[in-house]
Symmetry: none
Subunit: 421 residues, 2 copies
C-alpha cells in the first residue's frame, strides 16, 4: 500500500493561533483512494526543520504532501528549501507569471517584485497551475517512485490544487489498493459497554478489516475499514460484518452512515410530515437549536418554550402548582405536563420536554446533579424517560439530554418507543 | 527556552475522520507560559510508530505531550507501549479504580473488566487524577530534565488534566522565562478593520512585545505578549499599551480579560439584579442556550419563546397579523413586538428578540440571506438594530446574531445603548 505523509509548515500552527484543517481534508481525500496516511507533522518556518522533515518523511513514505510557506514574504521558506533540497535552479514560469499579473490587474493592485518572484519555480519541479491564488503548486520526483508535492496553505487554494492536479497524478502514477469504509453511529451506550458486547465479534475480524471507536458525549461512532483488491468482495464482507454488529447493538444504532442524530430526525419528520416543538428547562434551548440547525427546518419545527423558571412552566406551559409542590420540576409528572402543554399551545404533532439538574449546584440526595427527565408527547400519549447523567459536567449533561431527547423522536417515528421500558 | 512537542495518537486522525483540535489548544496553552512548541505529530494506533515517535521527540524536545489511545478497547495502545518504553511494571492504582467505580455506580452501570483495567498504571508513571472520565493521565520522567505526559484524547478530559495537573507541574519543574499576557476581547469589528485602525500603534511596539489576532465569528481576541526579566516593568508596559489600543476601539472592546461575552452579561445582570428572557426566530434557541449556559443562570434567566413559525410569533408573543402582512417577520416592527410581547408575558426586566434570514434558502432582493433584526426591550423602550451578515454561512449568521444580541444587553447595562445610532 502507498504510504503518505502530510507536512504543514508555519509558526502560526505551532503557536496554536490557527487550527490546521488542511491536513484533515487531505487525509480524508487520500484515504478515499486507498493511500495510507501514516503520519502528519507540523513544523515551524525554519529551513533546517523542513530539510530534516523531508529526510525523515521520505525514509518512511513514498508520497509527501506539504502545505504552507509559499507566500511572498521572507518567512516563506518552502520553495527555496525545496530548490536546494532537490538541487535545482529556479526560473520564472511564464504561465504562472501570467496568472499572477492577471490576479493583480483584476484587483487593480500594482504588481510588486515580491509578487513577480512567486512565479519563480525550481526547474526540476512539475508546475501545478493555481487559478485561485498567486502561489504555484509544485510536484517533485524524489526518485524510487517517491514524490514531494508542495501546496499553498490557504485552504481553498490547496483544495483546488489537490482536486485539479494532485489527485489525478496520484491515481495515474501510483498503484493503489482498494480501501472501503463502513460507519455505524450509536447513541446512549458507552464505548466500553459496546466493546464488551462485541468483544468476540471484534476478535474474529479478519486482518484486512479494522475497527475504530470514535466516542463523543452520549454517542460512539464506529468505523470498519477493509483493504484488498476486489471492491465487490470487500463491500460484501463489510456489509456482512456490519449486519453482525448491528444485531448486537439493536436500537442503539441510529445510522449506518456518518451522520448526526438530528439529520436522521430531520429525515423522519419530513418523510412523515410531522411537526414538532420543545418545552425545555435544563436544556435551555439546545433542543430547539438542534431542531432549527439544518436548512429547511421551518417545514417541521414550529417553536419552543424555554421554561427555565417555575413561573414560566406554569404560565406558558400550564404546569400545575400541585405538580410542582408535590413532585418538583424535575419529575415525571412535571415533564409530562410540560410536553402536553407545549403540544397543546403550539399545536404541533409532537412535543419534546426536558427537566433536570444540570449542576454544578442544585443537587440533593434524592435528586443529585445529573438527574434528568425527558419526554415525548404525541396525540395519544406521553413517553417519559429518566436519565442518570451524574458525574458529567454541566455542559455534557445538557448535551447528553439534548441527544437523548432527539433519540426519543427517532425511536417514536420508527415505531420502537412503545416497546421500550 | 523549553522546547516541547505534541503527539496525537489515533487512526481516526490519519484517516481524516476527526479534526484534531487538541493540539491547537495545547499549543496555545504552552505558548502562553513561554514553552516553545517546535513540532506536532500525528501517528496511527501502532506500537512501533509510537516507540519511534517517542525516540525522535525526546531527541529534540524536553517535554512531550501525548493525547489519545488511552481508551478501554483493543485499539488503544498508548499505555502498554509507554509501560514497555519506560521499562515499568503496571499495577492497579486504587485512587483511579475508586474514581472509575464511582463513575459507573453514579450511572448505575456495571463495572466491566475492561474498565477496571483502565486503572492499571505503569509504576514509574506519576498518576494524574482524571475526574472527567475513566482514563487516568500519566507523567513520566524521561531523564535529563525531560518528561513525557500522556492524556486522553477526549477534549474535555484532556483540558481538565492539562489545567489541573500538567500546567502546574510544567511551571514548577521547568525554568520558564517571564512571560506576561494581556487580552482584549472585541465584538462587532473585523480583523482587517481593527488592524487598519491600530496600524501605527502596532508598528511602534517594542521588539519584546508581540501582538496576536485571534479572530472568530463576529469577534476578535487580541493578545499582547511581553517577554523579559522584570515582571513589574513588563506589567506596566503592557497596561500602558493596552490603554492605547482600547481608546482606538471604544465600545467594541467588551473585556480586558479572556472571557466570552455571556460572562460579562452574566456579571452585569447579577450586579444590577435584572431578569431577562428571549424571543427568538432565526437564532432558534441559541440566545437562550447562552443565557442558561453558566451555573446560577436561573437567578436572572427566566425563559424564552422560540417563535420559528409565524403562528407561534402571533399566539405566543402577540405579534399582530397587520405587522406580519405589512412588514414581514424580518422587520423592525416585528422584532419590536416580539421583544415587548416576550417581556410582557414572562414579566422580565429585559427581553431580547431576533428575526432574520439565516439561509441558505429564503432570501430575496429586498431581504437577502444575512438580513437580521435584533432588539432589546426594557420597561421604557425598545432598542432595535439591523445586522447585515450576508456572505456568512447559516451557522455563522446564527452565531453572529446571538453574539450581537448579548452585546445589546452589555451596552444597555453599561449605559451605552441610547448613545448609539
Amino acid at each position: 500500500m502507498i504510504r503518505a505523509e502530510i507536512l504543514t509548515i508555519g509558526d502560526e500552527i505551532l503557536y496554536g493561533q490557527i487550527l490546521d484543517t488542511n491536513s484533515q481534508w487531505i487525509s480524508a481525500k487520500l484515504t478515499e483512494i486507498g493511500v495510507q496516511v501514516i503520519r502528519k507533522t507540523s513544523i515551524a518556518d525554519r529551513s533546517e526543520d523542513l530539510r530534516k522533515a523531508l529526510d525523515e518523511g521520505l525514509s518512511r513514505a513514498s508520497l509527501m504532501i506539504l502545505t504552507g510557506g509559499l507566500g511572498p514574504t521572507l518567512d516563506d521558506i518552502t520553495k527555496p528549501v525545496l530548490a536546494e533540497y532537490f538541487d535545482s535552479e529556479m526560473a520564472i514560469n511564464e504561465d504562472a507569471l501570467g496568472l499572477i499579473k492577471g490576479f493583480f490587474e483584476k484587483r487593480g493592485r500594482v504588481l510588486l517584485e515580491v509578487n513577480r518572484l512567486q512565479a519563480m519555480i525550481p526547474l526540476k519541479a512539475e508546475y501545478l497551475q493555481n487559478k485561485m491564488g498567486t502561489a504555484p503548486g509544485m510536484w517533485f520526483d524524489a526518485g524510487n517512485q517517491r514524490a514531494v508535492v508542495s501546496l499553498p496553505g490557504v485552504p481553498y487554494e490547496m483544495k483546488y490544487l489537490m482536486e485539479q492536479h494532485v489527485m489525478p497524478r496520484i491515481k495515474e502514477r501510483f498503484s493503489l489498493p482498494v480501501i472501503l469504509h463502513r460507519y455505524m453511529r450509536t447513541i446512549g451506550l458507552g464505548e466500553s459497554f459496546i466493546a464488551d458486547k462485541i468483544k468476540d465479534w471484534e476478535e474474529q475480524l479478519p486482518a484486512h478489516i479494522r475497527l475504530a471507536y470514535l466516542p463523543s458525549v452520549f454517542m460512539v461512532k464506529m468505523r470498519l475499514t477493509a483493504m484488498g483488491q476486489n471492491p465487490e468482495a470487500l463491500a460484501r464482507e463489510l456489509d456482512a460484518q456490519i449486519a453482525l454488529v448491528k444485531e448486537r447493538l439493536g436500537d442503539h444504532v441510529y445510522a449506518l452512515e456518518d451522520v448526526e442524530p438530528i439529520e436522521i430526525v430531520y429525515r423522519l419528520l419530513k418523510e412523515q410530515g410531522k411537526t414538532i416543538g420543545s418545552a425545555e428547562s435544563c436544556t435551555g434551548g439546545h433542543i430547539a437549536a438542534q431542531l432549527s440547525s439544518l436548512p429547511g427546518s421551518s417545514s417541521f419545527f414550529m417553536g419552543s418554550v424555554v421554561a427555565y423558571s417555575n413561573e414560566v412552566k406554569k404560565n406558558q406551559l400550564g404546569v400545575s402548582d400541585q405538580t410542582l409542590s408535590d413532585h418538583g420540576a424535575v419529575s415525571e409528572a412535571c415533564i409530562g405536563e410540560m410536553a402536553k402543554g407545549l403540544r397543546r399551545r403550539l399545536g404541533t404533532d409532537l412535543a419534546l420536554a426536558s427537566s433536570g439538574i444540570a449542576g454544578p449546584e442544585g443537587g440533593s440526595d434524592e435528586k443529585p446533579v445529573g438527574t434528568v427527565w425527558i419526554a415525548l408527547a404525541d396525540e395519544k400519549a406521553v413517553y417519559p424517560r429518566k436519565l442518570n447523567l451524574s458525574g458529567a459536567s454541566r455542559e455534557n449533561i445538557i448535551r447528553a439530554t439534548t441527544l437523548a431527547a432527539l433519540n426519543l423522536v427517532r425511536l417514536h417515528l420508527t415505531g420502537k418507543l412503545e416497546s421500550r421500558p
